[in-house]
Symmetry: C2
Subunit: 196 residues, 2 copies
DNA sequence: ACAAACCCCGAACGACCGTACTATTGTCTG
DNA sequence: CAGACAATAGTACGGTCGTTCGGGGTTTGT
């Protein structure tokens, strides 16, 4: 890895942390440069604008999400086991196991939902991909005979999504120690109602 | 209403709109003064710090939420009808019917969840109140015989909360036109699984 | 070894931030 | 109507924001 790519990676690592805590808008070039041991202009040169920095952060977060959540979970057996693995790893991802401030996407979703621009478009695209991956996992569970054949996988994904959002809310805002137990119990209820 | 209270109300009205779109951090004193036709210092005098402005905004939002969602819904008959009214009005509140940027609390929840301070404490308190109001509504539904007696109302509130969060996400970020239908359908599923 | 490319710095920019002062206006009360 | 006090304006401060520009080092390719 060239020197440039190396420092760029270090910058993004720091930026990910800050973004998960302070939001994308809270990732400031000056502060980031201080933490990375660079000058403002030196850091700025790596990204040609703040907007591109934001997008690079979202890109990096997506890569890590795929590597840390989706990819390993898809190694679980098709159907129910895979779905459980997906959800469990998703919650771990959100529980500050990866970023100190929890799931960056959920924070960015609320931050960018009324701010049109490339960053928002990028976020929407990655979130759509993730939803479709969940739907695909549900379809496989139908094929495997774990879920009933007439299951509306889109509706199923919506409800699963709500459970994860609820976990984030209870865990990270309310600091409710029972958040994980509630999410797991809700998942079981959803799985039971989807069973063949 | 005295002159001071009048302008203060006008300021907060504008601040609510901006906060729902740009987040609490995006509510800036200079921009707010411009829109309200005041000088920066004139506006600043009404709140003695940015932090107190933030809290005033959250306070105003809570009052409006109580007046626009909770109070009218609690006029519906006890039990199931009231719960339906609560959820329906909650979604309307989030659907930009009140603020252009949708539910301010959900945005603030993600924004403040890692930023300790009075604003966060205030938000947590109001959200806890709202959750408890939902739990209370569920208890009443149990008393009325609409919900089964062994229902875990806290778990029930968690799952309902997830549905509302999911609606916000699908509606405001993804701009999914079927968001409302999905939320309503998910509600019916939750109600059915809670029925006596 | 020399040119070219890459990486980073320092200084400066205009704009805006929150906040502190003082002064001036406006509104209410006795 | 006058005096008291609340409400607003004006100005200034130090700081940070994103961004631009020119110029050094340092590495790389030939």
């Amino acid at each position: 890895m060239s020197k440039g790519a190396e420092t760029r990676a270090a910058i993004l690592d720091e930026a990910l942390s800050r973004a998960s805590v302070h939001g994308l808008g809270g990732v400031t070039i000056g502060e980031l440069a201080k933490r990375a041991g660079l000058s403002k202009s030196g850091l700025f040169a790596h990204f040609k604008s703040k907007e591109q920095l934001d997008i690079a952060v979202l890109d990096e977060a997506r890569d890590r999400f795929v590597a840390g959540v989706i990819a390993p979970a898809f190694r679980a057996p098709r159907g129910l086991p895979r779905i459980r693995a997906l959800f469990q790893r998703w919650l771990e991802w959100d529980a500050a196991g990866f970023q100190p401030g929890g799931c960056l996407f959920m924070a960015a979703a609320m931050e960018l939902d009324d701010q049109p621009g490339p960053a928002r478009d990028h976020l929407v695209a990655t979130q759509r991909d993730w939803i479709e991956a969940l739907q695909q996992a549900a379809r496989i569970a139908v094929e495997e005979g774990h879920f009933r054949a007439d299951l509306d996988v889109e509706q199923w994904a919506y409800e699963l999504w709500g459970l994860a959002l609820g976990y984030h809310f209870y865990h990270r805002l309310l600091r409710d120690p029972r958040a994980l137990a509630r999410a797991e119990r809700a998942l079981e209820a959803l799985l039971a109602s989807s069973a063949a």
